[in-house]
Point group: none
Chain length 413, copies 2
Amino acid sequence: MTVALLSIGTELTRGEIVNTNASWLASELSASGFNVLAAEALPDDLEVVAGALKRLAQTYRLVIVTGGLGPTTDDLTAAAAARAAGVELVRDESAMLAVRRRVESFGKTMNAGLEKQADFPAGAETLPNSNGTAPGFSIQLGDTPVFFLPGVPREMKRMFTEQVLPRVRPQAPNNTFQVRLRTYGLGESSIGQALEGIEAAHPGVTLGYRIQFPEVDVKVHARATSQSTAREAAMRAAEEVKSRLGDVVYGTGDESFPEIVGRALRARGWRLAVAESCTGGLVMHLLTSFPASDYLIGGAVTYANSAKSRLLGVFEDTLRGHGAVSTEVAAEMAEGARRLCECEVALSITGIAGPTGGTATKPVGLVYWGVAHPGGTIVRDRIFVGSRDEVQLAAAYAGLDLLRRTAAGLPER
Amino acid sequence: MTVALLSIGTELTRGEIVNTNASWLASELSASGFNVLAAEALPDDLEVVAGALKRLAQTYRLVIVTGGLGPTTDDLTAAAAARAAGVELVRDESAMLAVRRRVESFGKTMNAGLEKQADFPAGAETLPNSNGTAPGFSIQLGDTPVFFLPGVPREMKRMFTEQVLPRVRPQAPNNTFQVRLRTYGLGESSIGQALEGIEAAHPGVTLGYRIQFPEVDVKVHARATSQSTAREAAMRAAEEVKSRLGDVVYGTGDESFPEIVGRALRARGWRLAVAESCTGGLVMHLLTSFPASDYLIGGAVTYANSAKSRLLGVFEDTLRGHGAVSTEVAAEMAEGARRLCECEVALSITGIAGPTGGTATKPVGLVYWGVAHPGGTIVRDRIFVGSRDEVQLAAAYAGLDLLRRTAAGLPER
């Protein structure tokens, strides 16, 4: 069943707030098998909103509107709905009573603005608001039901869940299923190339890509005659995606890369120490975004050379002879952190994040990362291209990936 | 000048990501005096996008489109633009060369998907992408210029600022001016209360609030007969906002809180060491998001008690007697980091970020933070309410604010 969302409010079109209502509704509706095909935001303008309502109701089978139901003069969604339906605004006495009760329960008194919240297009069905004063309502425009909800997210979400979804769900048999595969290590275009032909081989399956630098999500979406058939089709196609991409696929759904790295360390029974220079704490911040105290002992951020020596025991001769950004220093940092924290494994990263600090032989973006483990010490290096943030993030992921592969016994890429 | 925004991507209409591109563009355009009157999101569907382009170009004087320029099969914005304009897609050899150069600079090779990124509607003007492979482009639909930008926010923002804004700004006589004040330390409602009456006292000025947890931006927007008059009005009102909020306003424009902290340390001539437990590296990550090597020596992330003792010299008796989350341990962590790194000042943070690990006397969210400086050691504590991420971020900011106030000689809040 096709759905359009319409969010009303000048604060949206001026960019003063982000339209999280639309993404929340789209996500809820998609999960229930609806096909959301448009999400529009418009300012509080009676004519414009009335016109959009008519256009959307002609094109889509269900329209859900948020915002503009409040007490102030710029709230004119009900009037726009009446205009679109070609009917008058009518005061609903029982809604008025509900508004008054709620207002008085807060020790306030009614005013014209609050009374206006009980005005609805003639023939509308009102929807009670459990979390606020403004009731919602629904009307029919032609064959299309149009629901009007408050713009306050908390009120909108509750009204949608309690009032709208039960009314519309029976009309949308859910016949879709989606698998989200998380990947790190290949760019979007290489992944696209590797997955060529999968859509053709799996009728009803579409692939989508989403970049969250430096990760790429592959979304395997299936539509079939029933949800269970769709689920089977999506799972089959996801298996083929996984077999083509190999261990570049690190997880599924909401699993995150740092969590997977932590899981690999736990599975191996390795406790971790980290020694960071150019990433400045980012690696440990990523790992500790999730509970990590069962494997992460700690580590050092050694920005200055003096800190590398004093905290990690990097030899001053090594720093002088090879420079802080070198294979030798990366190795000594990892070995120092491993010794200092008495851990099985340690990760080190040293490099030049930029935007300044590069030289002819050691350009901005040059990064060395090392893993010291019971079998020895590995150091890798690469020149990352991008802004300071990007070099830091790319370096942190490269280090974490080497750690994951070492712990899990996977080959290096 | 009226503007419509069109964001393309099934991930938007399915609610998989929030449309921050639209709010960012709307905010930038509004600040430059444009009148954004529609923001639509549509799935990657050639016919639907082509139809929307024609409709929007008929209604608005400028259309800005984001998304669908990538290398995969679901990226079909260029084809939709060609369809809307009634022209063919043509390969642009110089854009092709630019794509190839960028791809090869990453040590990768071209493929059909990447080549597709150099296909544009005949007659389009291409827009170079400084941050990615996919160039943007612009076409005319009737009298309306339509700009097509990548969906990746970082690429989109740079292309908009460097390529689009300089081209369209001359057509929008700007009679507005906006000052963005950055604040930390008060909630949105307290700020709103403190600023009551400012709009009434400054005709043409409106105040907007934007929460970027734990910060709140106050946007002072003025509209007048000319930009210089608007600028004066906005500056006057901003001065009043600053005098009412005091040093809760830490900066203006794009200045960021960690930068301001670094500036305060530099001004004082203090080198910094950091000792983090529950924030897991977040404090140093925030500071090193900007060049920091001239004041940040380094620090330790001491997640396990053993690391607190071994790296920072926290006494085992203190850990046993008071627990890792205590005034005493926070003080010893800061003093240990200061000694270890031979710095003038050190910041420590220890607490319970959650979601588990709380007890009756030490609940989730309890955090101690300390600053050790030449005049002594200060420790503060608070129970922060929120998710793990929020507790970590709130704790990091509380610590950084104490550091800033100590270095700058400002009173504590």
